[in-house]
Each structure stands twice: as structure tokens, then as C-alpha cells.
């Protein structure tokens, strides 16, 4: 064999970084959208919550119409569904099947893989937001313009925060445990975590702590923005704190195999 053979073939090159991440984001988005259970969690359950909150008196007496208070919380719930539960479970099983290891040996790499996953979360969230917004507008939602401009980046922050938390769970325990933990927390955060119900409506012992949970912080920040057009700085700081903590813990303890 002539040793020059490899030089004749020429060196293989990676695709540009942006294309690799977009490619992975697109692939993960399609995978998430093709998953039926995922769609129930991402779209059907939030819509059911939206309708339920607009026809029951749970949110009465808070100084705004039911739908105006319900919609920001339901958007926050969408972010939690996709970023925490959906991406957490998907990543947990990718880890079990060695997909994370294989993809990290391609030019995509570990950082590109995580970036692709975040991109997919945001892409699915855009679709969820569009659907929830259309339904909410039909139900009489009237968000202030300033609130919309404020709410969009807050929702992205919430999604990134919950993605970091989801990856932390997925990277540290078995996928079956990830499935159980992220589903259980979705229910607990959804019902009692201040995400769709404001902390003032949470029964006794919980109401004091929910504002400090990622769910309560995102729900509170979204409602402040989309009901009153205001920035709830404390909630944003709490959310940023959770993001930094979860990301640091995930970087420290995430196991790729």
C-alpha cells in the first residue's frame, strides 16, 4: 500500500459550525414533533389547562379577566413541557442508547449537540406559542403590546432554564428515573408550582416557597409582563439563578454514557 494514499484523498472537513447546529436543531425538532406522547404534553394538556382556567372561577378576583391571567401561565407551562419534560426524557434515552456518545464523535461535538437541543426546544416552543396564542385570542385574550415584547424574551429565558434542569436530570440518573422525575415534577409544578396558578392562589404551606421555584418565577414573570406590562425583576433574578445553577451542575455532573 502506498503511504501517500491518504494525501491523495484529501483531508475531510467539518461542515460549518452554524450548519451543524441548525442541522441538529432541525433533526431534534422533527423527532420531537413526531412523538405523539410529546405532543400531548406540549400542546394538548396546555390547551386543556387554558380552557379549564377560562371557564372556572379559579382565577377570579385577581384584577384582570380569567383569560388574561391564564394565558401567560399556560405559555410558561408550554416551555416547561418541552424544555424540561420533553427534552429531558429524549436526552435520557439518547444517553442510554449511546446516541450522545456517537454524535459527540462527529464534527457536531458535545457543545453542538447541546446547542442543537436548545434550538429544538425553542423551535417547538414557537409552534406551541402560536397555537396557544390563537386559541387564547379566540377566548378573548388582550395582551398589552409592551407585555408581548417583554414576555417573549422571558419565555426564552424560562425555556433555557428548564432545558438546563432537564439536561441535569437526564445526564445524572437512569432514563426511566428521568421519565418519572420530569413527569412528576411537571404535574407538581403545574398544579402547585405557581406556573399557571399565581402563588396567592396556592394553598397554605406552599404559597411562601413557590415564588422561588423555577416554575413560580417563570409564571410570575410572564403574568407581570403580559397582564400589567411590567418587569418582575425578582422573578427574573430567581430564574437566572436557577439557569446558572442547573447549567453549572449539568456541566459538572452530566454523564455522556
Amino acid at each position: 500500500m502506498t503511504p501517500a494514499a491518504a494525501t491523495i484523498r484529501g483531508a475531510s472537513a467539518p461542515a460549518p459550525l452554524v450548519r451543524r447546529v441548525l442541522q441538529q436543531g432541525r433533526y431534534e425538532t422533527l423527532t420531537m414533533l413526531r412523538n405523539g406522547e410529546q405532543l400531548i404534553l406540549a400542546v394538548v394538556l396546555p390547551l386543556m389547562a387554558l380552557v379549564a382556567l377560562s371557564v372556572t372561577p379559579l382565577l377570579d378576583g385577581l384584577g384582570a379577566s380569567r383569560i388574561n391571567i391564564a394565558t401567560p401561565g399556560v405559555l410558561a407551562l408550554c416551555a416547561m413541557s418541552t424544555a424540561f419534560t420533553g427534552q429531558g426524557i429524549a436526552t435520557g434515552f439518547d444517553r442510554r442508547y449511546g446516541v450522545l456518545r456517537f454524535l459527540s464523535t462527529t464534527p457536531l461535538g458535545k457543545a453542538g449537540l447541546i446547542a442543537g437541543k436548545m434550538l429544538a426546544v425553542l423551535a417547538v416552543l414557537v409552534i406551541q406559542t402560536a397555537i396557544v396564542t390563537v386559541v387564547a385570542l379566540f377566548l378573548g385574550w388582550q395582551p398589552p403590546l409592551a407585555g408581548v415584547l417583554l414576555g417573549a424574551p422571558l419565555l426564552v429565558l424560562g425555556a433555557l432554564s428548564f432545558t438546563a434542569l432537564g439536561l441535569l436530570v437526564a445526564g445524572t440518573v437512569r432514563p426511566e428515573a428521568t421519565l418519572a422525575i420530569t413527569n412528576l415534577l411537571w404535574i407538581l409544578f403545574g398544579a402547585l408550582g405557581g406556573i399557571v396558578l399565581p402563588s396567592s392562589r396556592i394553598p397554605g404551606p406552599f404559597s411562601g416557597v413557590v415564588d422561588f421555584l423555577p416554575s413560580g418565577a417563570l409564571g410570575g414573570a410572564m403574568r407581570a409582563a403580559l397582564v400589567g406590562g411590567q418587569l418582575n425583576i425578582l422573578a427574573v433574578v430567581i430564574l437566572l439563578g436557577w439557569s446558572v445553577l442547573a447549567a453549572a451542575a449539568a456541566i459538572r455532573w452530566f454523564k455522556w454514557s
Binding site: T2, A5, I8, R9, P14, R101, F102
Partner: protein, 318 residues
Amino acid sequence: MPDSSAPALVIDGLIRDVGPIAALDGRMKRIVSGVNLTARFGQVTALLGANGAGKTTTIECAQGLQRRDGGTITLLGEDPDRPSAALRARVGVMLQDGGLPPSARPLALLHHVAGMYGSPRSVDELADRLGITSFADTTIRRLSGGQKQRVALAASLVGNPEVLFLDEPSAGLDPQARLMVFELIRELRDEGLAIILTTHLLDDAQKLADYVYIVDDGATVASGTVPELLSQATSAEAQRTITFEAPAGLDPGAALRAGLSVLETRPGSYAVSGPLEQGDLLALAQWWARLGIMPTSLHLASRSLEDVFLALSGTEMR
């Protein structure tokens, strides 16, 4: 451009510890303790050893999938500990467990992986070559082990790599697929790729490898071309080997006296080596009779690569 007269991969004195292990009172366990290896372009380099010898750990350190605790590794002139995208683009990896998402379909997955590279191979050509086209749209979870193995091989090749790592490439393949895969590996070798494969099957090494490293208990214990290793066997202690073919997954060791080495060299193919006497042949025949087995072939020989392997890797082979 790579300087292809230089080796593609050099591993020198690799050390890898895992743990802490609870059974060792929380101490670390050294699972690789001095593997040395050089792989060249246009050659198939095999790491041959029993399961648990440290082969996978060794190549995963070279792929940047595991951190090493000592020694040096140079892959295409770089340290692969934190491989750059440029380095990853030049190296193809087929993992032992495949690493394929069960819900994906082979052809779509290969196109996806191809998108990570600047100058990928043609996915359709590759799929055709490896017989993937016939199950291109079946989800991976429904494929047989051998079919998955071929998809994983295609995924490792789609980026048009210069260096190819194959971890147990023949695992799960039926004889026909095995021929197809071996043929492709030889062809890639002739194209100039440096191919590094692990195997616990002597037959694979004998059929494919230009250069063999025998790994035992975390260290390379012998190396050379197959003829070189065979000539080493003449200087190894005198011993005989009985090889026979019978149903896979049996444990002939249970029927034989201690001091003999027993190895299933490929599924259903057994080798018993050591200072064999007539009584051992009788014990084996009685054991077949007890199990109601008639071996499909039986061979008595005095030297083979198996002897080298067994002589060097000790009695732990069972």
C-alpha cells in the same frame, strides 16, 4: 494535508483508572495499565483480547470519549483528549453499542450525519453497498443486530474519514453480512484509510488485520503481523489445540481438568489448548455424549494464532 508517512495513531503507555469502586472500599481501579499501539494508513490494526481486557477503553480514549489518566495519544498529529471539529471530521467511529436512536430510520439518519461533514460520501451509494437500502425506512428499533451494525458502520463512514475506529465490527453479523463488511474494510484499507478495530475473535484478526496487538488485563502483551505472531508461537511452550464446532454458547471448560484454556473463537467454534493428553479428548467426547451433541467438525493441531494468544493471555480466558 496529513503527512501520511507518519502514523495515524500512536498510543504510548496509556493508563486509565475508573471508580471509585464500592467493592474496593471506594478505591480506583486501573483498567488500562500500559497499552502501546501504532496504527498506520493503509493498514488494518487490530486490538485483540478477551472481553474486559481494556480494548474498548483504549480506543475510547483515542476517540476523546474517555479521559486518560496517563500516557500519551497522538491522533493525526493532535491530542484527541478534547478533539477539535476539524479532527473529528477526519475520524470515523463505530461504537460497540451502535449509538443509533431507535426511533430513527436508517437512510434519514445517515443523511443527517452526512450533514455534519464538508465532503461526505454519497449516502445512497453507501447504503446500497452495505445492503441498507432494503430496510432504509424501517425504524432502527425493528432492525436485527446485524442490520443495526451495518447502519452504524455506514454512519462511521459517511463523513469520508481518514481514520476509522471499529469496536467489534463483526458482532451480531450473519456469515453473509460478515463477508460483506470484511470486504468493505479491506477495500477501505486499500483506499489508504487507517483502520483500528477491536475484536475478541481470533478469526477476525487473522482474516483482516495487517498488524495485531494482543491486549490482556489492560496492557499490550504482544504485537506483530499474523505470521510474526505465529512464529513467536514456536518459541512459546509446547502445547496442542483441539478445535471443534458445535452449538454456540457452551462451556466446555466445565468438562475439562484445570490448566487447560478454553475459548470460543467465534460463535459455535471452540478451541481447547494446553498440554493436552488422551484423557482430555476422552473427557470432551464424554461431555458431548452427555449433552447429546455431535460436533460438526473436529481438529487437532499443534500451533495457531490461538496458541500465541492463549500462551500470552494466561488462563483467565475462560
